[in-house]
Amino acid sequence: MIGAPTPTYAVEGHGLVKTFGDFRAVDGIDIAVPAGSIYGVLGPNGAGKTTLLRTLLGIVDPDEGRRTLLGDAAPLRQARNVGYLPEERGLYPSMKACEAVAFMGALRGLPLKIGRERARAMLADYGMGAAADKPIRALSKGMAQTVQLFGTIVHEPRLIVLDEPFSGLDAFNQGKLEALIREQAKRGVTVLFSTHVIAHAERLCERIAIVASGRVRFEGTVAEARDRLRPQVRLRTRMSDGPWRHALPAETLADDGAWHFPLPLEGIEPLLRALLDGNAGIESLSIERPGLHDAFVAIAGEAAARQMQDDQTQEEAA
């Protein structure tokens, strides 16, 4: 499958709208996922991520707008080149793990015999060789999720779409999944995934779309998102007051004996000079680049960020 001509964008959506009754789950979204990239759709639960992915994959049709998947306006025609892991995991409980992987490959055109061989090899490589002939109902939740993930990639797709892939996995398996995503991307596969955990997007993605209330609030690289905020300065001085205080920016906050403020637009040198001249007694000074979380708060709003945090806490508790 790899080797066929690849369009510039593996996935494109323009002006996508999807409504359920009066609720606009996707509200005029434009998205373009560069071929061969790892692309994250970031947003709290209910932001419209799943509906967006389902619309792009052709599971549901948009009410408005157009989409292309690997350059094709009919997404199902590209089914052989796409792997999809839905948010709600599902497998036939009586099916053996190896058969389940092969079946999912067969749905997307992979001969069963090859599917079985690859499934055994994948499970063995992952340390799950003993589970190959066990029915899904006999596996742990994490193992079943891994089986489904292998079913998503067994036919060696050009595009992998993962809806909340880290959900329900423990830290160890999350790490393994991250490695697997990177490995697929190295092979030239486009990986599009949704998540409400900022850390995964920050570690994995080259580009992200921040989605809230059915709209894309930001689209670009992680660096671009972070660059939307000025770097934060953290200053600790021996003196608590003096003429040098006037050199601190107006938005400076005092916290735990330290000063916090965004890096002044004119740079750090004028401030440093004022601090030295005013004998402020610099104990420490650090300039920190803002994280994606800070960028998310700035872009999507405090409420959306808080909801993301709640979603993650609830999931971890579950």
Binding site: F20, R54, L57, G58, I59, V60, D61, D63, A74, P75, L76, R77, A79, V82, Y84, P86, E88, R89, G90, L91, Y92, P93, S94, M95, F103, M104, A106, L107, R108, G109, G151
Partner: protein, 396 residues
């Protein structure tokens, strides 16, 4: 189309192996044999009951000579008509009066005949008197004629063919074929109702819908259930044939359907497949809307009633070849397979069958499409205008 058939085959293979390789499939195969075995056991018992206990007992309150004449007459008539056709005669005292004897707690006679063979008097309740009056009259007449009653010899003339008998035989074959196809359909198609519930409850439906056209899911499920039903039919048919061979009286034969046995059997299989897929596609469409097994069970009743109506319509038209009801039954897609198998038993032309099979196949496709459309609209919450969706390509 090729891609859709490939995907349908993948789903069919999964469903087929999941069902056939399960332990419950053995129960499924043996299930229909239980009622037959029980029926045969109770049927034998029923035969014994009807041949002995259920014949009405008639008391003879006559002088001994007259009673003997009546008994001899009954014996002679029984030789020609069979014992089961006549009541049992039992002598009873002439006194007390018949009405008193019938009122006794231990009386087991239905009526009592008193008087003489030339002037018999029958005493009993109105319905019993009405039922047995003719029999007593016949026995008494034979008793009166006694020695002068000669049984006339009927000379048999055997012919190889009798159109009347053949017509009757073919009609019976047509009816039996309809009943067999109907029962197999009702037995097997109901299972399709709950077919998509597994995918929905196990959340597999999204994986399927993202990978293959929904049409292929529906078609694959129908193919699997049809293949499974063929396994059942092969098993049950083989068992029935073996039982027939074992119990068949020597020299007994079956009348030939108009179209000949080989073509008739082939058409029976095809019409079963068509009846099954027609109803199955409808059931699949209806069942796909249900979210739980309970909802499926609720849907089962009206659907079965609908099946019964269609079957009665087809059987009504079976002996009226070419009449408007028969033509209507042939055209109406759901009754068409039943009407056409009855036609195959009675009419020897083949082309109407080719036409009917094509017509039924078109409806199978159309019903699947409507089912898919409803599924996309109500379950996947997708789709726009009705007509646009109905005629759009399966791959979107």
């Amino acid at each position: 189309m090729r891609e859709m058939m490939r995907a349908a085959f993948v789903i069919a293979r999964r469903d087929f192996t999941a069902v056939v390789l399960s332990r419950t499939f053995i129960l499924f195969l043996l299930g229909p044999l239980f009622p037959i075995v029980i029926g045969m056991a109770f049927g034998g018992l029923g035969d014994r009951i009807s041949s002995t206990d259920l014949r009405p007992v008639v008391g003879l309150a006559m002088p001994a000579a007259d009673a003997a004449r009546m008994e001899r007459a009954q014996g002679r008539l029984a030789e020609r008509m069979g014992e089961k056709a006549l009541p049992v005669l039992r002598r009873v005292p002439e006194a007390p009066a018949p009405r008193v004897q019938l009122a006794k707690a231990d009386a087991d006679m239905v009526v009592i005949v008193s008087g003489s063979p030339s002037r018999p008097i029958i005493t009993g309740q109105p319905a019993d008197v009405q039922r047995l009056e003719g029999d007593i009259s016949l026995i008494a007449s034979a008793a009166m004629a006694e020695r002068s009653l000669h049984m006339v010899h009927v000379e048999p003339q055997i012919v190889a063919t009798s159109v009347g008998a053949q017509t009757q035989g073919r009609l019976i074959i047509g009816r039996i074929a309809q009943i067999v196809i109907f029962f197999l359909t009702i037995l097997l198609a109901g299972m399709i109702l709950s077919n998509l519930v597994e995918e929905k409850t196990n959340k597999i439906i999204e994986i399927l819908a993202a990978a293959v056209p929904v049409d292929a899911i529906f078609l694959g499920k129908l193919m699997a259930m049809l293949a499974m039903s063929f396994v059942g039919i092969a098993f049950w048919g083989g068992t029935a044939f073996a039982v027939f061979l074992a119990l068949k009286p020597p020299g007994a034969g079956l009348p030939e359907p108009a179209i000949g046995w080989p073509v008739f059997l082939m058409l029976a299989v095809i019409y079963f497949a068509m009846a099954y897929t027609l109803l199955g596609s409808l059931f699949l469409g209806i069942g796909a809307q249900a979210a739980t097994v309970r909802e499926v069970q609720t849907l089962n009743m009206p659907v079965t009633m609908g099946q019964m109506l269609i079957f009665f319509f087809a059987t009504y038209a079976v002996d009226k070849m070419g009449s408007p009801p028969e033509v209507a039954a042939v055209i109406l897609p759901f009754s068409s397979p039943f009407a056409m198998i009855a036609r195959a038993a009675q009419v020897d032309s083949l082309w109407p069958h080719l036409l009917a099979i094509g017509w039924q196949a078109i409806w199978v496709g159309l019903i699947i499409r409507i089912g898919v459309l409803l599924f996309r609209r109500h379950v996947l919450k997708s789709g726009g205008g009705w007509w646009k969706q109905l005629f759009r390509s399966a791959t979107g």
